[in-house]
């Protein structure tokens, strides 16, 4: 009888330990929605990023995935763009402070610029509890990314939705 109990323990213990590891793994990552581009329209994809005690770090991970691009659809931010810091200000506004590649590596053009602003904003709004977004590069507030889309003010969710539906006819 003792022998049986030892065998049962040996058989079930690793399984039990494995299950515990899996549950830790599941809780240590979070599902996120990313917005990429296809034929001039934003399309959604799902992915996972590591959970972090600091929401700022989770935002960085999400923007890293956005910059890494997608196999199925087109990127909305340059490959070397990185979110350097995030500051959550009053009115639940997220101040996204990018590195300079966010601007210098942007190909330009009005439509591409719209897709960049809308793609980043939709991604942040979809995954984090913020009401506004302000773009910065190296600590300086941006007026535009490539000379066209006015991002001088905080961008709200309704504005982001409106910009995402930029094609009217």
């Amino acid at each position: 009888m003792k022998k049986m109990a030892v065998i049962a323990l040996l058989v079930f213990l690793p399984v039990g330990a494995g299950a515990a590891d899996l549950s830790t793994l599941q809780s240590s990552s979070m599902g996120v929605t990313l917005f990429f581009e296809m034929n001039g329209v934003l399309v959604q994809e799902v992915a996972k990023v590591p959970r972090d005690k600091m929401v700022e770090n989770e935002m960085k991970s999400v923007i890293d995935l956005l910059a890494a691009g997608s196999a199925a659809s087109g990127p909305v931010v340059p490959n070397k763009a990185r979110l350097e810091t995030v500051f959550l200000g009053s009115g639940r506004t997220a101040y996204l402070n990018f590195n300079e590649n966010f601007v210098t590596d942007h190909p330009g053009g009005i439509t591409q610029e719209i897709l960049t602003v809308a793609g980043v904003c939709q991604t942040v709004f979809a995954n984090f509890d913020v009401d506004g977004i302000r773009f910065l590069v190296k600590g300086s507030e941006l007026k535009t990314i490539a000379g066209h889309v006015d991002i001088e003010s905080v961008i709200s969710r309704p504005q982001c939705d409106r910009l995402s539906q930029y094609r009217r006819e």
């Binding site: 087109g74 066209h148 006015d150 003010s153």
Partner: protein, 225 residues
């Protein structure tokens, strides 16, 4: 009726038809838009989008000159054409708007070239202003009262430009663009070409043909005023 009489009648019929055609189609002059403002995007150190050696700045400058020539060819000196940015400079938006408004512009066409992270061809945009949040009462919504006419202008340019490229068509879009800040007249911003698209080789006569298409859109808009 014998054969000769029938032929005679047909010739007469065709003559009458063609006699009225010039009145309908040869009227290519502007009558109400006495001042046309062409705003070439970027300039100076700001090259804008680029594809190999061609920059958005150079493309827009060449097209602006071609449109100016097209307007002058049809109207002589009766219509004033204002180009907001000389080739060597990139005036800020305040100066561009001041040049347009100060000249008494009746219509403002901002010229641009599209680009993208990938060379996949996209539809090209003809944009009208969608004033951003916080713009109320500021110069950023100077064109608000012209929004209907701006949309009409966009429609006419779309009609004129659709079909220009075999692979690309145009759409009308609304976005909060700084290119419209301070501009108090019907205004559009047109992406006339996608520079990084391999499916759009630039033909030598492209500027003249694009200018001609844009001018015909202007004529149609003029007729609606």
């Amino acid at each position: 009726m014998d054969y000769n009489a029938r032929m005679h009648r047909m010739v007469l019929l065709f003559s009458l038809m063609f006699a009225f055609l010039p009145a309908a189609y040869a009227e290519q002059t502007l009558t109400k838009l006495d001042t046309v403002v062409i705003d070439p995007g970027h300039g100076g150190a700001s090259t804008g989008a680029r594809a190999e050696e061609l920059t958005e700045k150079d493309f827009c400058q060449k097209l602006a000159q071609a449109i100016k020539e097209a307007v002058e060819k049809e109207n002589g000196q009766a219509i004033k054409v204002v180009v907001t940015a000389p080739p060597e400079k990139d005036p800020d938006q305040r100066d561009r708007a001041f040049a347009a408004n100060g000249a008494g512009g009746k219509v403002f066409i901002s010229l641009h070239a599209a680009s993208g992270f990938a060379p996949t061809p996209r539809m090209l945009g003809i944009y009208v202003q969608d004033a951003p949040q916080g713009a109320e009462g500021t110069w950023r919504e100077a064109g608000k009262k012209y929004s209907v006419k701006s949309f009409q202008l966009a429609e006419k340019l779309k009609e004129a430009l659709d079909g220009f490229y075999p692979s690309n068509r145009f759409f009308i879009g609304r976005a909060p663009l700084t290119d419209f800040n301070g501009v108090a007249m019907p205004a559009v911003a047109v992406e006339v070409v996608q520079l990084n698209s391999q499916l759009q080789p630039l033909a030598p006569d492209m500027f003249q043909r694009l200018a001609s298409a844009i001018y015909s859109g202007l004529v149609e808009f003029d007729r609606r005023q």
